[in-house]
């Protein structure tokens, strides 16, 4: 292994856990997340000598992950099949109902909107950084983000108002779907 490859290995060992978590939020499955991360790291390895600024390599890897995820979805859409129950739900996982609800809600988003949500609210990227990572306009990020958040609110709202075991039953009732529309008259800041 060359010195350059050693450098890459150091980077990959430091970055792989974070990349895999982000990939998991994109695809909802740890095995696929691992595949996505491996493909991403392989592409970064192939480009390693061309990445002249080491301080930008994390951004490069994140952009590669996004491209890989979106390309995979283009090839074999739909990438996920919604089921009643998520597999491999560990009993010691905190708030299993909320976890399932969040994953199901994310799965309802179109791939690009899901990528926007993950970048903006998991990776803490700004609108412009998200636009740069996805290769689209900031305006598109904004509209995708606003619509995705709206949808997540509605989906998580439904779960929150359904009676059932677990921590979600402790949430108070919220506005239901039918109340979510335009409401010009009843302004409340």
């Amino acid at each position: 292994m060359t010195a350059t490859e050693d450098e890459f290995v150091q980077f990959a060992e430091a970055a792989s856990a974070r990349l895999r978590r982000t990939a998991f939020l994109l695809c909802g499955d740890w095995h696929t997340a691992e595949d996505l991360t491996q493909t991403t790291l392989a592409k970064v390895f192939a480009a390693w000598r061309r990445i002249s600024r080491r301080d930008a390599v994390n951004a490069y890897a994140m952009r590669t992950l996004m491209n890989t995820y979106l390309a995979e979805n283009r090839k074999k859409r739909p990438g996920e099949v919604l089921t009643e129950q998520l597999p491999e739900l560990r009993v010691d996982s905190p708030s299993p109902e909320l976890r399932m609800a969040v994953l199901e809600a994310l799965a309802m988003l179109p791939p690009k909107a899901r990528a926007v949500v993950v970048l903006r609210y998991w990776e803490d990227q700004s609108v412009d950084q998200t636009a740069a990572l996805l290769g689209c306009s900031p305006g598109n990020v904004k509209s995708q983000s606003a619509r995705a958040l709206d949808k997540l609110r509605l989906l998580l709202d439904d779960v929150a108002t359904e009676p059932g075991p677990g921590s979600l039953t402790e949430l108070p009732n919220r506005t239901r779907k039918g109340d979510h529309g335009r409401d010009v008259a009843s302004h409340s800041a």
């Binding site: 060992e13 792989s16 930008a56 090839k75 609210y121 740069a132 619509r147 335009r182």
Partner: protein, 464 residues
């Protein structure tokens, strides 16, 4: 739903993380395979050669600069007074708001919009006389759609569906929907240009039909007209180039390769043209956030050649560019400061610091009278005097939705920013639903009550 609450939910989602496998070793092996394949492909392609035809753009006359790099038209596009703000909601609905009273009118339903899979508006622009507004988005069927709104009657239509594009994916020919990202209306009001992927679609506004698309090297979004409207400059952020389009013939001229500093991950964000039409300034932001990490690249429009890049010596990602003082100064927003550039010498001057409580600003706009600029952050709006280069205290907007831009009314009296409302806490999570716009008076620099429209806006523009 705010960032903190969603972040908490995402943390719960990843809470059952299994141990990592042999990711790194497998990646190195796979990476070596990619390198081998690339070397083989590179050897095969060396036999091909590209021919580049260089053209010269005619000299430009003086006038008023136009830019269309962000949703909403430039104030200079309204020789007749605008009376209404048009607020585009993600649900495919447009709500007119009176500039005089800040009262919302009857919502306008956009054909093909509303509900699941409805029109996803990405940008909107008005004709120079303010009588028609064109919005672009992705329609219910997935195609790119341009919809006109008559501001005299506040009715929507007609709808123009852009042709699908031929793409080659894995060697197969496919028809794909173009994703529209930006629209700019020519200063003469006869043609609108819609950027969608690797094509610019000219829309004949007399017949409301899409003409043959102009193919450009890579996808684009920021666009700016020369003051006389003879050339539209289109930024291709990934390729580091700017493509001029001659509007008389709707043909692309030779792309201008920018002398961008070599970085692993830079991005062209914005373009603005001086009112005398001599120079364009292109903003090049670089991930990493270190000092000297952003640049502005001037382009000599007489020769269509890029000049040496100007370093912006402030930390944070640069995200906005405006030209003021009759074209004498360009201002670059980079998170917590605004850097002036003297356009006569192309030298950066001492930066204007934004108030510490403003946080990270991400959008900047110039008032129609050119005396003030406004920077938008997730916490409020910072007014900046252009003459004295001083930032005033931030106008706090507690309900601000950090995904929308600010829109300044052409009369300069009101700024509209997007807002979330009905914030509530449930089980330790903060949830938002509903929203609208907050009007800010530029006379008193105070924010008014939220005009509630049901959701935050996708874009705001102005018409008669």
């Amino acid at each position: 739903m705010d960032e903190t609450s969603l972040r908490t939910q995402l943390e719960v989602a990843v809470s059952d993380e299994p141990p990592l496998g042999h990711l790194v070793g497998n990646s190195v092996r796979a990476g070596r395979r990619i390198r081998r394949r690339r070397r083989a492909a590179g050897a095969a392609s060396l036999s091909a050669a590209a021919i580049v035809v260089v053209s010269i753009v005619p000299a430009l006359t003086a006038g008023t600069g136009h830019r269309a790099s962000s949703p909403g038209p430039a104030a200079a596009e309204h020789p007749t007074p605008a009376r209404t703000a048009y607020v585009y909601l993600g649900s495919g609905t447009v709500v007119p708001i009176s500039l005089a009273t800040n009262v919302a009118g009857t919502p306008i339903k956009v054909p093909g919009g509303g509900g699941e899979g409805g029109l996803d508006v990405t940008s909107a622009a008005a004709t120079p006389n303010g009588r028609t507004i064109y919005e672009i988005g992705t329609g219910r069927a997935g195609g790119a759609v341009v919809t006109a709104i008559d501001t005299a009657t506040n009715t929507a239509g007609p709808t123009i569906t852009l042709p699908r594009l031929v793409q080659h994916v894995a060697g197969k020919r496919m028809l794909a929907s173009a994703e529209p990202t930006n629209i700019a209306v020519a200063p003469n009001g006869k043609t609108a240009y819609v950027a969608a992927e690797e094509d610019i679609f000219p829309i004949n506004l007399a017949t409301n039909t899409a003409d043959k698309p102009i193919r450009i090297p890579t996808r684009s979004w920021a666009m700016a007209f020369t003051p006389d409207g003879s050339t539209l400059y289109v930024v291709n952020p990934e390729a580091g180039i700017v493509t001029p389009i001659r509007t008389a013939t709707n043909t692309a001229l030779a792309p201008i390769k920018l002398t961008v500093p070599k970085t692993a991950f830079g991005y062209l964000f914005d373009i603005a043209i001086t009112p005398n039409g001599k120079t364009a300034y292109v903003l090049y932001g670089v991930q990493g956030g270190r000092p000297y990490a952003n640049w502005v690249i001037p382009i000599n429009l007489a020769t269509n050649t890029a000049l040496g890049p100007i370093a912006i010596q402030t930390p944070g990602l640069a995200s906005g560019l405006v030209i003021a003082h009759g074209g004498r100064t360009a201002y670059v927003l980079s998170t917590r400061a605004v850097t002036p550039i003297d356009t006569a010498t192309n030298q950066a001057e001492p930066a204007i610091s934004l108030p510490a409580n403003a946080g990270n600003a991400y959008s900047i706009a110039l008032a129609p009278n050119g005396k003030m600029m406004y920077a938008l952050s997730p916490r409020g709006v910072v007014p900046i005097r252009t003459a004295s280069r001083t930032a005033l205290p931030m106008i706090k907007v507690p309900q601000i939705e950090p995904v929308t831009e600010l829109a300044i009314a052409p009369n300069g009296k009101t700024i509209y920013v997007g807002a979330s409302t009905r914030r509530s806490r449930q089980g330790g999570l903060t949830m938002d639903s509903g929203g609208g716009v907050v009007p800010i008076s530029t006379a008193t620099n105070t924010a008014g009550q939220v005009i509630n429209l049901g959701s935050p806006p996708a874009a705001v523009t102005f018409g008669r």
